[in-house]
């Protein structure tokens, strides 16, 4: 879709549509040569044998639309996709930040034009109306300003637009339809502007209904009976008689704060300073609600349209600006190279994607707040190394050694040690107070048991010597066997895995946890493994 050279040459894009290769997009030069979207490629080639043709790439188009949607996030967090070529923005309560709806439209189209995208923008009280006007209105962009809030913006990239440096978009700055003017604006538009399928449009054309005005005053029941309930619903949606929410493509944050810059910032210090300032504002919002953030996201909007999103999680609800800054400092230390500021960021937004109730903790004047300090350490190490890498060991209710303990991210479970035990399914019987009769377990367990060779004096007995990592060890003491078999309800493969564990001590004082694996087939020889080491 991107052409850096061949400025004035006609370019068409073709892809399979209804079993034939048809044009899916044309640039301005091609449109001037009477090439149209939907025309068979063979016809276009017959007209212009030397024309440049590119293959349609739907996946790339979708990615581009996502990228533009990401960029549109600077106007509102509520951006919905309208594939293949449209975006829906809910600008309710956001427009005043840009100086009104007209100014927002101007800003949007100018910035898109600077990135060499053509766009048609319409602001209306309903999604249906904005959609229709953006795609079908032929009125010159006049900037009819309305003072009505509660609006959707439809920014459609028209099918005929190819990003091309030769033709920066210079049309109107967007249509703004006042609430109540829908009827007047929509009436002259063709029925396809109601987002109907082509079958319905064709069927309506057969009975002579071509414009929206033709159906508006007709009785609804026969229309619904003949053309389907969906048809009537589309009319209602366009005129605001039925509510139609925009489905945001990204989760809407619980709270957010943002800062815009007339001069873009590029230094890491400036970015972090901005984040800290925003964190202060975010913290006030959260404090009023009695909440703290569990998942924070900083969105850095680069001037050329790229958006970087950096997320950090927290172990405890957090609203301390200094600590939030530290978390992002650590995260940026790791991923800093990926966040290329280019010519700078002009919008920085900090959002609490997840917030949780935060009990105001009573802290003594002198006593240091250990729990908060530990939670902060966990967050910082998690931000730097990955939240799953800072973990606690949670005992599990199974006797299979590999599964007897599970590493759970410390950020996921509250750092309070008293509560951590409650969150596990069932405490291990010998866990809280070490039972002196419980069989001894090694301090280190190998992720994969290591095969060893061992010689036993009697077939079922403990090894008399074994070779592990190419060193031969003579056993002087051994304890066992301790039979551990697969739990019968897990035995879905029909294999009965039986292990006889021995705790052995070598002449050098090495203490190892070995086991003999009994094969499911008695004809097979038994095998020996080292599974862990004792202190």
């Amino acid at each position: 879709m991107r052409r850096s050279s061949a400025l004035d040459e006609a370019l068409i894009i073709a892809g399979p549509v209804k079993g034939a290769l048809r044009l899916t997009a044309v640039n301005d030069a091609a449109a001037a040569q009477r090439l149209k979207v939907g025309m068979p490629l063979a016809d276009a080639r017959a007209m212009y044998p030397a024309i440049a043709v590119a293959d349609a790439d739907k996946a790339a188009d979708a990615r581009l639309l996502e990228a533009i949607a990401d960029w549109c996030d600077r106007y509102t967090p509520l951006v919905g996709l309208d594939p293949p070529d449209g975006l829906l923005l809910d600008v309710t309560g956001c427009a005043h930040l840009f100086g009104g709806e007209a100014a927002l439209c101007r800003d949007l189209t100018q910035r898109l034009a600077a990135q060499r995208y053509q766009a048609r923008v319409a602001v209306a009280a309903t999604v249906g109306c904005a959609w229709a006007v953006a795609r079908f209105s032929s009125l010159p962009g006049s900037g009819r300003v309305a003072g009505e809030a509660g609006r959707g913006v439809d920014a459609a990239t028209p099918p005929g637009s190819i990003r091309s440096p030769s033709s920066p978009f210079s049309g109107g700055m967007g249509e703004i339809i006042a609430s109540g003017d829908e009827r007047e604006i929509l009436s002259p538009l063709p029925l396809a502007a109601l987002r109907l399928s082509s079958d319905v449009v064709d069927a309506l054309a057969q009975v002579g209904l071509k414009r929206i005005a033709d159906v508006l005053d007709r009785p609804r029941a026969p229309l619904a009976a003949r053309f389907g309930q969906a048809f009537v619903r589309r009319i209602d949606q366009a005129f605001g008689r039925e509510d139609e929410p925009i489905t945001p493509r990204l989760p809407v944050p619980a709270a957010m704060a943002e800062q815009r810059f007339a001069e873009p910032i590029a230094l890491e210090q400036d970015v972090l300073g901005t984040i800290e300032r925003l964190a202060g504002r975010l913290g006030q919002t959260l404090e009023r609600r009695g909440e703290g953030a569990r998942l924070l996201q900083a969105a850095l909007f680069r001037t050329d349209g790229k958006v970087f999103r950096i997320e950090v999680g927290t172990a405890e609800p957090l609203r301390d600006a200094g600590r939030i800054r530290r978390l992002f400092t650590d995260r940026l230390d790791v991923i800093g190279d990926e966040v290329d500021p280019g010519f700078g960021f002009d919008v920085v937004r900090l959002a609490a994607l997840a917030a949780e109730r935060c009990e105001p903790a009573q802290t003594g004047l002198a006593a240091p707040d250990h729990a908060a300090e530990l939670a902060h350490l966990i967050d910082r190490l998690g931000a730097r190394f990955g939240s799953r890498r800072v973990a606690r060991l949670v005992p599990q209710d199974t006797h299979i050694p590999e599964f007897a303990v599970m590493a759970v991210g410390a950020g996921q479970m509250r750092a309070c040690p008293g509560r951590s035990a409650l969150r596990t399914s069932a405490p291990h019987p010998g866990h809280a107070e070490q039972d002196s009769l419980a069989p001894a377990r090694p301090v280190r367990l190998f992720e994969r048991p290591e095969p060893i060779t061992a010689i036993a004096e009697v077939p079922d007995g403990p090894p008399a010597q074994f070779t592990w990592r190419q060193v031969r060890h003579v056993v002087i003491h051994a304890e066992g066997p301790e039979r551990i078999a697969m739990e019968w309800w897990r035995d879905d493969m029909g294999h009965v895995l039986k292990r006889d564990y021995f705790r052995v001590e070598s002449r050098e004082g090495l203490r190892v946890w070995l086991y003999r694996e009994w094969p499911s087939d008695p004809q097979q020889p038994t095998r020996w493994y080292a599974h862990g080491v004792f202190a």
Binding site: E373, I378, R384, A391, V471, A478, A535
Partner: protein, 258 residues
């Protein structure tokens, strides 16, 4: 450029600050962690320095389990109410020497709910995590497993400063002894030692052969100790008893069923 007079004042103030911090450099009443064996505690001058850095290495990689066990016992003895322990391991160390296994740790008096584990990719990450963790006052001990010579003099000095700030015990755990210069207070070499049989045919209490190769406060020494996991304390093993235990190697191993 600053004018001359404020600069002089500035220097004077800085000198005073340095003099003060040097005076505080070796605080006399620092916390001590007694091991419970009189001979060792006497050598250490009352016990292991608390808010300080110590190095524990295995004599051979084979004995890394024993070295880890000794580090665990020290961490268990450093335990303080409401404080936790952080264990930092690199991915390499985890593959090579196995992952810390929860059920086995309880025997060292270190309950798993008081233990945090951090897995990092590189030794430098382990040092970073250790320094940050030592500064945190909510931890009683921080242990980092290090393969290779990642911790040099500067790194260990930074760790000591961090330990002093946070008041935690820092332990560097290595699979083999290191000759690299280090600012650590003590250096230990640990090997497993054949245990005294418990008389019931099983393995006796975990025994270590300890060698204190460097001690900033006194002489070095060598001991053989056993860890009593019921009392969470060390007991000295007399050489004689240990020798007889070793002589028992030729008899057939007894088997305890269960």
């Amino acid at each position: 450029m600053l004018p001359a007079e404020p600069m002089e004042q500035h220097l004077r103030r800085l000198r005073r600050v340095i003099a003060e911090s040097e005076a505080q450099g070796i605080p006399e009443a620092e916390p001590r962690i007694a091991l419970g064996v009189a001979a060792i505690d006497a050598t250490l001058g009352g016990g292991l320095a608390g808010a300080a850095l110590h190095e524990v290495s295995a004599t051979l990689p084979l004995h890394f389990g024993a070295a880890a066990g000794f580090a665990l016992t020290l961490a268990a003895r450093a335990r303080a109410p409401k404080k936790q322990t952080l264990w930092i391991a690199t991915d390499f160390s985890r593959l090579e020497a196995g992952a810390l296994y929860g059920p086995g740790l309880d025997q060292f008096g270190l309950p798993t709910e008081r233990l945090l584990i951090a897995r990092v990719a590189r030794p430098v990450d382990a040092l970073f995590a250790m320094e940050e963790a030592l500064k945190c006052r909510a931890l009683s001990a921080v242990i980092a497993e290090l393969h290779g010579e990642a911790a040099d003099l500067t790194a260990t000095r930074r760790l000591i400063l961090a330990a002093r700030e946070g008041g935690a015990l820092g332990l560097l755990l290595r699979p083999h002894p290191s000759d690299a210069p280090s600012a650590a207070h003590t250096r230990w070499q640990v090997a497993g030692y054949p245990s005294e049989p418990d008389g019931l045919g099983g393995l006796g209490a975990t025994a270590f052969s300890l060698s204190l190769t460097r001690n900033r406060r006194g002489p070095s020494g060598q001991w053989t100790v056993a860890w009593d996991h019921h009392e969470h304390a060390f007991t000295a093993l007399s050489r004689g008893v240990a020798e007889t235990a070793r002589d028992g190697s030729d008899r057939a191993p007894l088997i305890r069923i269960g």
